[in-house]
């Protein structure tokens, strides 16, 4: 398809005007669709009063308060304690911070963010490792009922998470895995392995068998040939698969909110619970959301070429 797309419409080339109109419409859509993201990004740099002013403030004095509130662990303080601190001295100094702690809730963003990292990396590593072996076997060997097994693997992804959450909750309670990073890693691995097998099988199918056969004629064992010849050839595919698995684990909410309560909670269930004085601390939410979304935006740009394959389980190539 890539060959076709580079030369596409060589005769039926759209006119310059139609190109310009198309470009303007697409750019208009892109700008409108980016507006909500831009707004939440800007909110992260506002002061709490600016964030809830009406009409909404497009021009404002940037403040670090949102990020401060996000990173400091807040505890309830007594009024006497606040009195002893004296008057506030600046926007983000210790005294101001502590004065605001009277009513403020808790912000444990950093540990939640670290949980997200641990769980996303752990489950990605496991899912890709399991996936590459299975994908290789499905691609190269005659496995009885291979098509049925592959469909079964795919079908595990069709289940609504809530449908299996009840027994997993009961099972984890028995095994002591509830609210643990290990439990979440195993769970996300199981969800991601289906994607990993399907995607990696597509990538491995594209590596000519002759490479391994040549290696085996040179005296390599099958395993050797797999590690020395196939893995390096599949490196790009492995990297793309890993990022897709990571994005899923990073974004997941349903299992996280049902199976974790504190210890192993990830960022998505945590961000909506950032409460400040008298309601949501929107600047802190904006700051937390921004930090949480940056890796995904970077990955989207990196993955551009593989996106279609990744979101369709490799069913459509580009």
């Amino acid at each position: 398809m890539s060959g076709a797309s580079t030369t596409a419409h060589s005769v039926v080339e759209p006119s310059a005007t139609s190109k310009r109109v198309a470009g303007l419409l697409v750019i208009l859509y892109a700008l409108i669709s980016m507006a909500p993201l831009a707004w939440i990004f800007a909110t992260g740099w506002k002061t709490p009063p600016d964030s809830i002013s009406y009409p909404p403030k497009v021009v404002f004095e940037p403040s670090l308060e949102g990020y401060c509130n996000l990173f400091t662990t807040r505890t309830r303080q007594t009024n006497e304690y606040i009195e002893a601190l004296g008057p506030p001295q600046g926007a983000c100094d210790e005294v101001t911070r502590r004065r605001e702690m009277v009513i403020a809730g808790q912000s444990n963003y950093v540990p939640r963010f670290i949980n997200s990292l641990i769980i996303a990396f752990g489950s990605t590593f496991l899912a890709v490792s399991l996936g590459i072996f299975s994908a290789y076997a499905f691609s190269r060997f005659k496995i009885p009922l291979a098509d049925d097994l592959l469909f079964f693997i795919l079908s595990t992804r069709m289940m609504p998470p809530i449908a299996v959450a009840i027994p997993i909750y009961l099972m984890y309670r028995e095994l002591g895995l509830s609210d643990s990073a290990l439990g979440m890693i195993l769970l996300y691995t199981a969800v991601n392995v289906s994607l990993a097998v399907w995607l990696l099988k597509g990538f491995i199918d594209e590596i000519p068998r002759e490479y391994e056969e040549a290696a085996m004629i040179d005296g390599y064992t099958r395993l050797h040939a797999f590690f020395k010849v196939v893995l390096p050839q599949a490196a790009t595919g492995i990297a793309a698969t890993a990022i897709f698995c990571m994005i899923f684990a990073w974004n997941e909410y349903a299992f996280a909110v049902l199976l974790t309560s504190g210890e192993a909670q990830t960022a998505p269930p945590f961000i909506p619970t950032i409460i400040g004085e008298g309601g949501m601390d929107w600047p802190a939410v904006g700051a937390g959301t921004t930090l949480f979304l940056i890796p995904i935006v970077v990955f989207t740009i990196v993955l551009r070429k593989h996106l279609l394959r990744g979101i369709t389980f490799g069913a459509v190539r580009k």
Partner: protein, 317 residues
């Protein structure tokens, strides 16, 4: 498939290491099983075993907050209760509406965008990437910040709407009004997932061979005619693929809606997954919710089968 074996055997016979290879190397058959087994075991432990457990629980009166109560077999009671429950039918109806409208909007806008991007204007690759960002984000986080945009007193959405329509911003509460709340979630879902449909449609449009359009051009077919007789039919399998994928995903939608409305106001946006979550984790009706989960799974599995059939159709082209 057999050619690998024969080549390997020939290699083994031809080289002096042939004997050694048989001893130290594993046979292909054992490698195949060794490579597939861990994945299968994990899926059995974390997908199949819980699923079977759910089936079992759906026939009992077990409640996860009362683990010591003796478990009684209640037969098909929960299934009968669910199929005759107006609450469940309301949830299924809300889900069907949600799926229908989101797919309609996403397909029309998504295909339109793909058609425009396919014009290959200057910078189209960059703007396509920008458009794709929303679908990569966490639905829960998206739901949360849209809730902020929808706030009646402070929200950007209300401000923009009242700026263009002249309506007073306090006159509409997107998430608080029974009539507007379902549309509020349709808007967010469309915002988030239109890029997905666009990407698949774009692949469909790019898969149309040049010579067909060139031939049409030579025959002096009008642009309109070319679109209806060539472009649309040839991209159709891809559009269907996108529709089926979005259908399955939106049928089990939970995260975004949970954060945005939590099912409210009243139960106007209470989709099937949210009803299920309430029954299982708030009312602790484990048996009842297990039965509902099984019913949902059967429906989704049916859709998945349709999807695979459509997929095979696409592949056959």
């Amino acid at each position: 498939m057999p050619n690998i074996d024969t080549i390997a055997h020939r290699a083994a016979a031809a080289t002096p290491q042939g004997v050694a290879r048989k001893v130290r190397g594993l046979s292909d058959r054992s490698i195949a099983w060794l490579f597939v087994a861990p994945t299968m075991l994990l899926l059995l432990a974390i997908n199949i075993f819980p699923l079977i457990w759910t089936v079992y629980l759906s026939f009992t009166n077990y409640a996860s907050n009362r683990p010591n109560r003796p478990v009684i077999n209640v037969g098909l009671k929960w299934y009968r209760d669910i199929l005759s429950s107006p609450e469940i039918w309301a949830a299924m109806q809300a889900t069907a509406h949600f799926v229908f409208w989101t797919i309609l909007f996403q397909t029309i806008i998504g295909f339109g965008l793909a058609y425009l991007v396919d014009r290959k204007f200057r910078g189209h690759a960059f703007w396509t990437t920008i458009i794709l960002i929303p679908m990569m984000l966490s639905p829960a986080v998206v739901g949360n910040f849209w809730k902020f945009l929808y706030q009646p007193q402070i929200g950007l959405f209300n401000y923009v709407v009242s700026f263009f329509t002249g309506l007073p911003p306090s006159s509409f509460e997107m998430l608080g009004s029974v009539t507007l709340a379902p549309w509020a979630i349709v808007i967010v879902d469309t915002w988030m997932w239109t890029p997905y449909v666009m990407l698949i449609c774009l692949a469909g449009l790019r898969s149309i061979p040049d010579y067909i359009l060139e031939a049409a051009e030579v025959d002096r077919a009008s642009r309109w005619r070319q679109f209806w007789s060539i472009t649309l039919p040839m991209a159709l399998p891809f559009i269907m693929l996108a529709v089926l994928f979005r259908g399955i995903e939106n049928f089990k939608m939970f995260d975004m809606v949970m954060l945005l409305t939590g099912g409210g106001p009243g139960s106007t946006t209470e989709l099937a997954s949210i009803t299920l979550k309430r029954a299982a984790f708030e009312a602790y009706r484990t048996g009842y919710s297990s039965a509902f989960a099984i019913i949902l799974f059967v429906v989704v599995f049916g859709l998945a089968n349709v999807y695979v059939k459509a997929l095979n159709k696409v592949k056959q082209r």
